[in-house]
């Protein structure tokens, strides 16, 4: 076998093997994104399940907060209805997060409620699921960043374009989360 034949063989292997590996890597990354998104969805469902309990526990005490409670029940119904796009789901969940947070703040005005064991257990469960959701978002952002980078850098970007892979949006922290807690505004009302 002379040198040219060897070079040709190596080149052919290279041309076949490299795109294959890139292809596999892209698929694996996309699946990872989908996998984490599904886990995140499961966590969000866990939170939807807690909401009716919370409303039931809280409504006897929080007579003045009826509106907030109706709002959160509505949002939950919309979120579990199923026929919503991922971006709508993100938006709904951001709203739910904000309302849950505001309920936790308002509880301060109801000492009886604050002392009830039922509520304390619920609060612990909510804290837990919130923290899990936030972990899920971080995981989602990590794998999505990896995926987005892979479809934008050379040479995998060529393949990604052929396969119609597009950038996926990251979970952004909502405006309310980004701002530092304004302690003064909590005491105003």
């Amino acid at each position: 076998m002379d040198l040219t034949t060897i070079i040709i063989i190596v080149a052919i292997i290279f041309i076949i093997v490299v795109p294959l590996m890139l292809y596999n890597s892209l698929i694996r990354k996309r699946n990872q994104v989908e996998n984490v998104f599904a886990s995140l969805d499961a966590l969000l469902k866990k939170r939807y399940d807690l909401i009716p309990n919370l409303v039931a526990t809280v409504q006897n005490y929080m007579q003045h907060e009826k509106e907030t409670l109706t709002k959160i029940t509505e949002l939950r119904t919309k979120a579990i209805s199923g026929n919503i796009t991922p971006s709508e789901s993100v938006d709904l969940n951001n709203q739910i997060t904000n309302i849950l947070r505001s309920i936790q703040v308002q509880v301060e005005n109801y000492p009886d409620l604050k002392a009830s064991t039922n509520f304390l257990q619920l609060q612990a469960a909510l804290n837990e699921v919130e923290e899990q959701i936030s972990a899920g978002r971080r995981a989602y952002n990590a794998v999505t960043t990896e995926y987005n980078t892979a479809i934008e850098v050379f040479p995998s970007n060529i393949l990604a374009r052929m396969m119609n892979f597009t950038r996926r949006p990251l979970f952004e922290i909502t405006e309310a989360e980004r701002q530092n807690v304004d302690v003064k505004s909590l005491f105003k009302n």
């Binding site: 890139l22 837990e128 971080r138």
Partner: protein, 333 residues
């Protein structure tokens, strides 16, 4: 927590006065140990001298009568036995000295840090607990020793730790010897959140590099689990995280916990192995030397020595506060 200045006062009150009860108890054993060791050493030197002399006059020795030869050999054997007896007595006195030191000094320091903590100088973390995190999967444990077990509850958080020395037996054609698998402090603390899987935070030496070396960086599974890339660059620089679950790893390693681990790591300035499993934390911190031991050659107990032990104890017990484990706002009580 007491400051170092306060601890110095505590030292002055309790351990510096050489006329105190403590020294009255310690000194006889110290003197005995030193006396026996010195005698044994002079005996060894004498024996060495004797053997050199014999090797010079070997042909003269052959000319002695059998009885005389027998007498000389008998004398040598007796001499060696005496040396061994003295060494044994020396070691036993030193052991007694060590026991009193631990009972009267180390115990007092631990009580000073937190009166709720219990101290067992001769007990140590069970082997079954050490093997749960399986930090060193490439070794087999052949020798498992330890001492200085401390246990108690800090706030709401149970903690246990002890010194451990774990070794593996190796064989060559000529001899067998032991290599260290782990020597240092092993700590078991309750974690404040529930979780199911297993997450490791290891010193970033080779594991992460190995994991990344695989082509295109996707085959990132190791014996510890899948590589987890976290968003805190300072944390990522010193730690490699592996987990059975990407989301759970982030649930455990919240942004604040990552900062706290970095701070802890920088403050003790040592390698730290962390494993989160069974809703508990297992921590291994290697130390080269034997901790909480007295220095028998020192006439008084030196402040520097106790300060070192005090700081190690503070740092270890401080894990609970440092990692904020008393915050129990989740479902785990």
């Amino acid at each position: 927590m007491h400051s170092i200045d306060e601890f110095y006062q505590f030292y002055l009150e309790n351990f510096s006065n050489t006329n105190s009860e403590l020294y009255k108890e310690l000194n006889p054993y110290r003197q005995k140990a030193i006396k026996f060791f010195l005698t044994a050493i002079s005996g060894i030197l004498l024996a060495a001298l004797f053997f050199i002399l014999i090797s010079f006059y070997e042909h003269e020795f052959d000319r002695f009568s059998n009885t005389l030869q027998g007498l000389i050999i008998g004398f040598i054997v007796l001499f060696i036995i005496t040396i061994l007896v003295f060494l044994g007595l020396g070691f036993s006195a030193a052991k007694k000295y060590k026991d009193i030191f631990k009972e009267r000094v180390i115990r007092k320091i631990i009580e000073y840090i937190d009166p709720n903590l219990k101290y067992y100088p001769n007990k140590f973390i069970e082997r079954s607990l050490f093997t749960i995190p399986n930090f060193f999967p490439n070794y087999s444990i052949d020798k498992y020793e330890g001492d200085d077990l401390v246990e108690g509850v800090i706030g709401k958080t149970p903690i246990r730790f002890s010194e451990l020395h774990v070794q593996e037996k190796r064989r060559t054609d000529k001899s067998t010897y032991y290599v260290d698998i782990f020597k240092g402090l092993f700590i078991n603390v309750d974690f404040n959140k529930h979780f199911k899987g297993r997450t490791y935070v290891l010193p970033d030496k080779n594991d992460k590099t190995y994991a990344k070396l695989f082509f295109l960086g996707e085959k990132q599974n190791t014996v510890y689990g899948e590589l987890v890339k976290l968003e805190n660059p300072e944390f990522e620089k010193i730690c490699a995280v592996f987990s059975s679950d990407q989301i759970e790893a982030r649930y455990i390693l919240s942004t604040s916990l990552m900062n706290r681990i970095v701070q802890f790591r920088n403050r003790i300035n040592r390698e730290v192995f962390l494993c989160f499993a069974n809703s508990q934390i297992y921590v291994a911190i290697p130390y080269k030397k034997n901790l909480f031991e007295p220095k028998i050659m020192h006439k008084t107990i030196k402040f520097e020595l106790l300060k070192e032990y005090y700081e190690i104890l503070l740092n270890t017990i401080g894990i609970v506060d440092e990692l904020n484990l008393n915050v129990r706002i989740w479902t785990k009580e």
